[in-house]
Symmetry: C2
Subunit: 263 residues, 2 copies
Amino acid sequence: MNDRKLFLPEEARQLIRGGEWSKPTSGLANGYIQANLAVLPKELAFEFLLFCQRNPKACPIIDVTEPGSAIPVLAAPGADLQTDIPRYRVYRNGVFIEEKADIADIWTEDMVGFLIGCSFTFEEALLENGIPIRHIEEGCNVPMYQTNIPTVKAGPFEGPTVVSMRPMPEKDVVRAVQVTSRFPSVHGAPVHIGNPESIGITNINNPDFGDKVTIKEGEVPVFWACGVTPQAIAMHVKPEIMITHSPGHMFITDLKNEKFSVM
Amino acid sequence: MNDRKLFLPEEARQLIRGGEWSKPTSGLANGYIQANLAVLPKELAFEFLLFCQRNPKACPIIDVTEPGSAIPVLAAPGADLQTDIPRYRVYRNGVFIEEKADIADIWTEDMVGFLIGCSFTFEEALLENGIPIRHIEEGCNVPMYQTNIPTVKAGPFEGPTVVSMRPMPEKDVVRAVQVTSRFPSVHGAPVHIGNPESIGITNINNPDFGDKVTIKEGEVPVFWACGVTPQAIAMHVKPEIMITHSPGHMFITDLKNEKFSVM
């Protein structure tokens, strides 16, 4: 099964489009950026893009479609956001309605698709630098928490930052900051190191999203802004319609991870 | 006259607002980011922001106001874009109409203000690294050229990149790339080094905007994407109204240059 890592993005998307791949995309087409999806009505698009622009750590924009177009021309000009994600979630007026394998039947001329960076990219870089990642070791989802770190509001979009947490030995913390600083387009440097309470997390063993992971004696929790933030915040605005990917079922772009690193 | 460098941004903006400073802002409130201004109707705002997002080297966004608001809440929450720039230019349907000292009388609820990074920031960094800047030595404007480097289109916004040029001895070129790479929010690394013809510039001594500067024997021309690009491109769309700063008369933000550097 390891050769799925070697798929090119176009091959992986073809499997997904054809219904042959409906599982999470972690490990598919290794080395290529995967992205979170948020589809919103055009009338909210300017202020949502502005929100992302003002909160680049939580909402690093990879690509945005033109109104009515489902083609991410920068990230994957041969792809179609209506069909190329294994599982979608549909929300109406802020309420979860259904999960779907494609959204061609509900896509309208009025929609704008936002692709937002995800942590898969910097996790690969952490692993390459010899920093183990607990939720991968334990085969579960990364733990995520609501914090008291405010985002910068834009129009109706406002609320707290959601963070993901990766515990690590003290000796790895500096290197983890350095490695992830090189990837500002996929969340970048941590937003917090250490004491969870100083960012409003009262019980580190009870994440708001994802799964609990083991924090070993002497390990430090390190927190990164999380791509769930814009989805959680958009939901509060109760848009008439909003479509997202289903957790872990990401959009695979044609962009190489390294393209998004800075010096 | 050197103490104007020591002004705080708020002090400098107060002089401008009171009509006591109507000259170019170069050297005012040293160490703080100065920005290009483009004001556009809300109906064009999403696609213009998308254009900037897709062309970050030419159009590095510093801040964007909410529709109708003239307050750049991130860049300078105490400022007012209607009054805090020494000279404005007003264009209607793509035609230059007038230059004004403030725009309070023509500002409407329908307008969105875009602040776009300018090269003053990275020029300060070049100077600090011992790289001389010819147009500063010669007391004129930086030379700017239309190129054959396409921008990535968004909605009606499309066209070629405008670049600025700084000649330097070969020995300084590597350092100039390193220094400006640290400032992706103010144009970042050069887009081209050397032969002007390979980017469509036929006569280096005849810039399309700004002034000609001396290129000495053995010097290499180095080209950076220029903040004139989004203005030039927006003009082609012939928006009902568009307001910009007058060249050299920039908006002074509260943001320190160093805040915009990356590691």
